[in-house]
């Protein structure tokens, strides 16, 4: 039994998950994990499924293309290889928010710094708050900061990058949000 990861993207509409899961079912695959999200008009879904030895991965790709192609959806299927998986170090969860005028290179500027410090992004969301107010663009990054990292140095570098990008930056331990809003 091997595992595959299937990703599907395209215009959102009812029935996408139904078609993918039906095809996986017919092919004898067991869905182990699934997640989907919507960005504006677009759907993106990911499925991790175990696939019986009796069916080749190439055959599964062909079957999915056959069903999804006519719907204008693209799919990508990859066999999951346990070798080479990134092993996360011990980390602490923090939340970074950036607030400021939209312009090219904001996400690139922040994420380059995160990558350089080995900070992993667990969730990233753009929240365009304030409607037409171009100054009110907010990005929320939930990140895992390695415990071994010099947090002061990282914080300083992040704030400095914020100044360069004309962004107000906050970096707070995730527990504060949990404490305030969740019972």
């Amino acid at each position: 039994m091997k595992k595959v990861i299937v990703s599907v993207i395209g215009h959102d509409r009812p029935g996408i998950i139904a078609v993918v899961s039906d095809e996986l079912f017919i092919s004898g695959c067991n869905i182990e994990d699934v997640s989907q999200t919507l960005l504006q008009t677009e759907f993106a879904g990911m499925f991790i499924a175990s696939i019986p030895d009796s069916i080749e991965t190439g055959e599964l790709i062909r079957r999915l293309d056959e069903r999804l192609g006519p719907m204008g959806l693209s799919s990508l299927v990859r066999e999951m290889d346990p070798a080479g998986v990134w092993e996360a170090p011990a980390t602490e969860p923090f939340v970074i928010t950036t607030l400021g005028p939209d312009r090219l290179g904001l996400v690139a500027g922040i994420t380059e710094l995160l990558a350089r410090f080995g900070v992993n992004i667990a969730s990233l969301k753009a929240v365009f708050r304030g409607g037409d107010n171009p100054r009110s663009n907010i990005m929320i990054y939930e990140v895992d900061i390695p415990s071994a990292l010099d947090q002061n140095q990282f914080r300083e570098a992040l704030y400095e990058r914020g100044r360069e990008l004309d962004l107000e930056i906050s970096l707070q331990h995730r527990d504060i949000f949990e404490a305030i809003h969740r019972i």
């Binding site: 939340v95 928010t97 607030l99 667990a122 969730s123 969301k125 929240v127 708050r129 907010i138 929320i140 939930e142 947090q151 914080r155 906050s170 970096l171 707070q172 331990h173 995730r174 527990d175 504060i176 949000f177 949990e178 404490a179 305030i180 809003h181 969740r182």
Partner: protein, 457 residues
């Protein structure tokens, strides 16, 4: 994953609504410093405070940065000096106060509380020496705060102590007359003083408390006001029951912040976590005022008719939200209405909406009492004592804490302004009517017996 709303509303509270932890107060027992030799006692005190509290400010700053929540004040509360130094005379008591002041300066805290005596039923020699030392102690130190408990539901009201405190307040004002009597701003007279108050000037470490211990005072009048304003803007039809629910929710959030920060500071310092004090404590900043909450509830000014009912509702909702958020609630836990420390309340007093009588009435439904009330400099010790006695009676009969922090501003009259500076703010001097009408009553002295409410066993 966090929701957008959870992240954004937290940021709003921090950026625009003055969400903070008002004080982290480290309680340190001085009983193990006791000695009949003043040199030895003060050396022990200095050594212990500097040893236990050396990391307090650094740890608080570190935790504040980590969670993005400002910790506005870092303070120390010590055992009542009248007990810890009970063999000292008045002069030695002043030496003890100076030692506390120096230790506070050395570890970088802005106030240290515990120049305290508990005399609700009567005096020991240490109590008398300490109370006599208060005026000079407050005049010759910068950071020392003093409190005297003169009444309790169990003991009644020690009217000899009440009169003595009237005289002590007068003397403390005289000795700091060049600074509008600021000595009195660091002196609280209490009924039913809690043993774990983190807020000044009443903070001290009670006899039954652990050593050392971290107690936290949360704040958040600005957060409460903005939550009410937002809710009313979104739905102008909200009634008082629904608005009280909003205060409750907000108090829950603010308290959770306090508990998280307090526990983290305690953990890093390696000391016990004590309590969260759920008080709504204002500062002299716009948007950080208890008085403004009254306006958000439809009253033109704090002090107009309806204010006592509004305060009762606010105070109760704060407690209900806070009690759910933390199992270890203590200290004063209620709304403060300090006249000088809250711009809006000071303004209401200046305009005459807030009189001393109305303040007194309001203190029957909230924590603390006549807090930072500036009076004319020629107010007699007897009148001050009578005002204190009234305030103590409210506490004793209602089984709650009340306090009086009265400042007879030397050389100034009702209507003029007193300036205390910093967190203590400025206040319009309000008039206490009936001067000299209370002298004969106050001079009777003795102890008003404990009320029937005390017989609960």
């Amino acid at each position: 994953m966090l929701s957008d709303r959870e992240v954004i509303s937290t940021l709003e509270m921090l950026r625009h609504e003055h969400l903070d932890v008002r004080t982290v107060t480290l309680g340190i027992s001085l009983f193990d410093c006791a000695s009949d030799d003043i040199g030895r006692f003060t050396a022990n005190v200095r050594e212990k405070i500097c040893r236990i509290a050396s990391d307090l400010v650094g740890v608080c700053d570190q935790v504040a940065v980590r969670y993005g929540i400002p910790i506005v004040n870092k303070r120390i509360a010590v055992s009542p000096i009248a007990v810890a130094a009970c063999s000292m005379n008045t002069g030695r008591m002043v030496d003890a106060a100076v030692t506390l002041d120096n230790a506070a300066r050395e570890v970088g805290v802005d106030f240290i509380g515990g120049f305290t005596a508990l005399v609700e039923k009567g005096f020991t020699s240490g109590d008398r020496a300490l109370i006599e030392a208060i005026p000079e102690a407050l005049a010759s130190t910068e950071r020392v705060c003093s409190s005297v408990n003169v009444a309790s539901t169990r003991a009644g009201i020690n009217m000899d102590a009440v009169y003595l405190m009237g005289k002590t307040i007068k003397r403390a004002a005289e000795l700091t007359s060049d600074r509008d009597g600021v000595g009195c701003a660091k002196l609280c007279v209490f009924a039913n003083i809690p043993e774990d108050i983190p807020f000044m000037a009443g903070a001290y470490l009670g006899v039954g408390e652990p050593d050392p211990v971290v107690n936290v005072g949360v704040s958040g009048p600005g957060v409460v006001k903005m939550a009410l304003d937002r809710a009313r803007a979104a739905n102008p039809g909200l009634d008082l029951g629904e608005l009280s629910e909003i205060i409750k929710h907000t108090s829950f959030k603010v308290t959770r912040v306090g508990e998280l920060i307090g526990r983290e500071v305690a953990r890093l310092l390696g000391v016990t976590f004590g309590v969260v004090d759920l008080s709504l404590a204002p500062t002299p900043n716009v948007g950080d005022s208890v008085g403004e909450i009254f306006q958000s509830l439809g009253l033109s000014h704090i002090g107009v008719p309806g204010s006592t009912a509004a305060l009762a509702m606010i105070n109760d909702a704060v407690k209900k939200g806070g009690a759910f958020a933390s199992s270890y609630v203590g200290g004063l836990s209620g709304a403060f209405i300090p006249v000088s420390e809250d711009l809006n309340i000071a303004e209401s007093a200046r305009k005459g909406f807030l009189t001393i009588e109305k303040l007194e009435a309001m203190t029957s439904v909230c924590s603390v009492g006549l807090d930072m009330v500036a009076l004319a400099g020629d107010t007699s010790a007897e009148t001050l004592a009578a005002i204190i006695a009234d305030e103590m009676a409210i506490g004793v009969i209602n089984r709650k804490t009340t306090a009086a922090r009265l400042i007879p501003v030397p050389g100034k009259k009702a209507g003029e302004k007193a300036f205390f500076g910093g967190l203590l703010g400025e206040a319009s001097i309000i008039s206490a009517r009936g001067e000299n009408g209370s002298s004969n009553f106050i001079r009777l002295g003795g102890r008003i017996p404990a009320p029937v409410q005390s017989m609960t066993n």
